[in-house]
């Protein structure tokens, strides 16, 4: 039973067209085309779905009404981080990735999609400069997958079965990595010391069965690993591969991990020009040195330069396509599929806009505001910083006697989301280049007021 109207998305459902096409294929009904689907497999009746809204204005009103029930982080003062960050997104980034051409392209050849190949090659190249490495993938899903794949690559390259994890990674990322490699690798955690790697505990665990030493810097608490160079030396001496998960915004200011011994560097590109999207805009980078043994273990697509039949002309194509599951099914490395290419283009535009000066400025601004926020919060009676490490963008504050949940609830009344509760007494606070000094001051005042109230209540109780 055809629809009673022609839906704008289904042009051939106009009844005269439908009939003409049936005639052209010698069919008497559309039903006949489903002859291979036995009656027993048929859905009885219509699917149980909410009513259709085929008139565009009705749909738009419905969805806009739903979304209007959200209060965005532009309306509140947000110090929420924990893997998703409120950074400035230049308008040009949104303009480029909103272009119909990039938005709706998929899997064209380098000839029809020259621009897409170039844009993603440039993304790889710009990231390569930032990270000081020669090979960067077309983004995989997210930093979790990037870390999981990097660790798995280390397992495949070394043929070893242990992974030492030295930092405080995001707990969900750790989940993902464990599950992903559980078929062939065990992930062992060496607890951190003062929120960075406990380097003195490393030698005892570091044996010739260790495939990878895995560092996260900044950690989930925003602490920067200061001893990467030493850790790398120890790992390399044991024949292990150094896998680092990190934040690209650091590297206008900091020496990239490759310069400190890292073999595989991974992370997220959400901070490079992607909105927060309720945590739903992610892309994972995996950067390598140009070592064929490593490259051939990477599952992602890699777009590379190629000469063409016209001398001097540069074309693009898939590097080492034969690694992939597209070429080899289960004999390929892991798998490759629709991942996060559009976000990669976005990150490329972002880096092109920022340039070296912009990347230095943003690194310094965030470092400075993080330090400022740390000092402001640490100065509040009843609050202290959880550790003395250098922090970028996030840090953890511990309350002496107040519960973190109560502090959050109190500051929410001032339209402030103070941070993410890590445990009973710990709050993870995030500041970016979007967080002004004035907002940090308001946060500190609100926390101080909240703690004062708690003290007062405690006093009253005593």
């Amino acid at each position: 039973m055809p629809l009673s109207y022609v839906h704008p998305y289904i042009p051939n459902s106009a009844s005269e067209v439908r009939q003409a096409m049936l005639d052209a294929i010698n069919a008497t009904s559309v039903e006949e085309l489903f002859a291979d689907v036995p009656e027993a497999l048929r859905v009885q009746g219509a699917l149980d779905l909410p009513p259709a809204l085929p008139v565009e204005q009705d749909l738009a009103r419905h969805v806009a009404d739903l979304l209007s029930r959200n209060a965005s982080t532009d309306e509140r003062t947000s110090f929420l981080g924990f893997g998703v960050y409120r950074h400035s997104v230049p308008a040009v980034v949104d303009e480029v990735i909103g272009r119909s051409e990039f938005l709706t392209a998929y899997a064209g050849e380098p000839y029809d999609d020259h621009g897409r190949f170039q844009a993603l090659f440039e993304y790889q190249s710009l990231m390569g400069e930032l990270l000081g490495m020669d090979v960067v993938n077309v983004p995989t899903y997210d930093g979790y997958q990037a870390a999981a794949t990097a660790v798995a690559m280390a397992g495949r390259i070394t043929g070893r079965r242990r992974v030492l994890q030295l930092s405080d990674p995001h707990p969900h990322k750790l989940d993902k990595v464990r599950d992903f490699v559980s078929g062939f690798l065990s992930v062992e955690t060496i607890p951190t010391s003062a929120s960075v790697a406990n380097i003195s505990a490393l030698p005892a665990s570091l044996d010739d069965d260790v495939a990878a030493v895995w560092i996260e810097t900044p950690s989930v608490r925003g602490s920067i690993e200061e001893n990467l160079s030493e850790i790398s030396q120890l790992a390399h001496a044991a024949g292990a591969i150094v896998v680092v998960g990190t934040e690209p915004l650091l590297y206008g200011v900091l020496e990239p991990p490759a310069g400190l011994g890292a073999d595989i560097v991974t992370g997220e590109i959400q901070s490079l020009g992607l909105h927060q999207w309720f945590g739903g805009a992610r892309g994972g980078f995996i950067a390598l040195h140009d070592d064929p043994q490593f490259v051939m273990e990477l599952p992602s697509r890699l777009f590379g330069l190629a000469s063409t039949s016209v001398p001097g002309e540069l074309g693009f194509g898939d590097v080492a396509y034969e690694r992939t599951s597209f070429a080899l099914r289960e004999e390929g490395k892991e798998w490759v599929g629709t991942a996060a290419a559009l976000w990669g283009i976005a990150a490329g535009v972002y880096l092109a806009l920022m340039g070296p000066r912009g990347m230095r400025d943003i690194g310094e601004t965030i470092l400075a505001r993080t330090a400022y926020a740390q000092r402001r919060v640490a100065a509040i009676p009843g609050a202290r910083l959880s550790d003395p490490a250098l922090h970028f963008r996030e840090f953890c504050v511990e309350f002496e006697s107040a519960s973190a949940v109560d502090v959050v609830a109190a500051t929410r009344r001032a339209q402030i989301d103070a941070g993410v509760v890590l445990d009973e007494r710990s709050l993870l606070i995030c500041v970016t280049e979007m967080t002004t000094r004035e907002e940090i001051d308001r946060l500190a005042d609100a926390i101080a007021a909240a703690l004062g109230d708690v003290d007062a209540q405690n006093g009253a109780r005593q």
């Binding site: 459902s13 096409m21 294929i25 048929r42 219509a46 709706t104 927060q276």
Partner: protein, 507 residues
């Protein structure tokens, strides 16, 4: 456009955007920002990003965009198995609001009721579309959803203590390669079933392969040939009989929406692609969006966090008790969840069924047109109708003219049309796969088929025209060896400069 590589646009001192400066009050407290960083960690080398003014960056990417044949510009039936359909522009407008873009996943539930409701509603809708009991929207693409299926299968058997024994997964050759690949990545041995002479998956081979070592079957149906396996419930029952799970790759669901479901065939779990069947734009290769739907017995394994309804409120909770843990961050690809929700709401149940019917009508109509093109053939299942797509063959053309399917694809680019051979391995010789979906008008299908026929004519009359294509692309035929030789490949501009010019500067 002959647009240079972005590094060539470098002009010292130019800025694309400025960054919020450190306030003087902040500097007064923390001092020089760079000095906060221990010397051993400070960047040692110059950062060689290009410096370019804002307008020039924009122009660069706009020009590259014009050199990209997005589905919006094309008659995109040539990327079979990809379900290239119309991604309605209203959905782009609807998600383009700070009320979605600027939401943080750790906000209080009270502040995000709208997005939570949409997530929850889409879960419910997917329950109805699949007939399954519980849904996760967390994965970011079809292959990651397939991975999640594999991970759920593994966890299911592990929980029952059978993980050690069940080391095999069975798939079919015309199921998407990621079923094989993800099963392998999860540690399984993969057994692949080929079709019998009729073109339907070989029941005999399947029965020989299945055993108590089988963890699951992971199959697509209709397969990438467009052939629907009518015996699918039999296969599922056979799997269940040996204690294996049955996992349904619904990448080709577009032609069976509202017609048949995982539930009717008895599957335990299945997945859909938001970016295929449910119209979210393909984004040059992602982000996509995966939907995993499972029966009650697997629900306890689903990852978290989850969105549930309590009274009139929508609340977030952690993972299920025996969850496989996070497979992906937070709630999935949220922009695509809202897009897919909007698309489905525009159509409703009857509209979805109309999508399926017209997609299948279009497919069989196009089949009729292609069948008549000299040199093209339609392997398998002779005289049967196909569902969502058809895998065709240029075997006859190749044998007659020496022109390959790949070369035809390059020539189709000259006509401004996408064309893709097919996934490896090429079991069908000189394959191509066309999937018209419901989005294209009869005129456009006629035009696509006419272009194919024209290339076939060229192949017969002047094969060199086809074999030296593309002739009208921005670039000419590339040298594949540059991409496969480790000494020559260049994945970044820095690698290119190093390998070809021995320099860090621009060549």
């Amino acid at each position: 456009w002959d647009e240079r590589i972005i590094f060539d646009l470098h002009a010292p001192g130019q800025r694309g955007v400025l960054v919020s400066a450190v306030e003087s009050e902040v500097s007064a407290v923390v001092g020089d920002a760079a000095a906060l960083v221990p010397k051993s960690l400070r960047r040692r080398s110059r950062l060689d990003l290009p410096e370019i003014g804002q307008m020039r960056v924009l122009k660069h990417y706009l020009r590259l965009s014009q050199g990209t044949l997005g589905a919006d510009l094309n008659i995109d039936v040539g990327q079979g198995t990809c379900t290239m359909k119309y991604s309605p522009k209203v959905n782009e407008r609807l998600i383009d609001t700070p009320k979605l873009k600027s939401l943080h996943p750790m906000q209080d539930d009270d502040d995000v009721q709208g997005v939570l409701e949409i997530i929850w509603q889409l879960q419910e809708i997917m329950r109805a579309i699949s007939g399954m009991d519980a849904v996760s929207l967390q994965t970011q693409g079809g292959s990651s959803a397939i991975w999640m299926n594999a991970s759920l299968i593994r966890a299911y058997h592990d929980l029952r203590g059978e993980g050690g024994r069940r080391r095999e997964v069975i798939t079919t050759i015309f199921s998407h390669p990621s079923n094989a690949a993800a099963a392998k990545a999860a540690g399984y041995d993969v057994i692949t079933i080929y079709p019998d002479e009729s073109g339907y998956p070989d029941r005999g081979a399947f029965e020989s392969a299945i055993s108590d070592r089988t963890a699951a079957i992971m199959v697509t149906n209709p397969e990438d040939t467009g052939i629907f396996n009518p015996d699918i419930r039999g296969w599922v029952e056979t799997a269940h009989a040996v204690g294996a799970l049955a996992s349904y790759d619904q990448a080709n669901a577009n032609g069976i929406l509202g017609i048949t479901r995982a539930r009717e065939a008895g599957f335990d779990l299945c997945h859909f692609n938001l970016h295929k069947t449910f119209s979210t734009p393909h984004g040059s290769g992602g982000p996509g969006g995966g939907v995993n739907a499972v029966t009650e017995k697997l629900a306890e394994l689903l990852p978290g966090p989850r969105v549930v309804k309590k009274g009139d409120r929508f609340v977030t909770t952690g993972a299920a008790p025996r969850s496989i843990g996070a497979v992906a961050p937070f709630y999935g690809v949220v922009p695509n969840i809202v897009r897919a929700y909007s698309w489905i709401r525009s159509l409703g149940a009857e509209g979805l069924r109309e999508v399926a019917e017209i997609a299948v009508l279009n497919n069989n109509y196009l089949l009729e047109l292609v069948r008549r093109i000299p040199g093209a053939s339609v392997p398998y299942a002779q005289g049967r109708r196909r569902i969502e797509q058809v895998r065709y063959s240029w075997k006859e053309l190749f044998e007659a003219t020496g022109v390959s399917s790949e070369e035809i694809g390059l020539r189709m680019a000259d006509y401004g049309l996408h064309y893709w051979t097919s996934h490896h391995p090429h079991v069908v010789p000189q394959p191509f796969t066309l999937e018209p979906t419901e989005s294209y008008s009869r005129q456009e299908l006629d035009l696509y088929a006419a272009s194919l026929a024209e290339v076939s004519r060229e192949a017969h009359e002047s094969p060199e025209t086809v074999q030296t294509a593309p002739h009208r692309s921005t670039v000419h035929r590339t040298e594949h060896a540059d991409l496969d030789d480790p000494e020559r490949w260049a994945v970044t501009w820095r690698a290119y400069r190093r390998k070809y010019f021995g320099t860090r500067g621009s060549p």
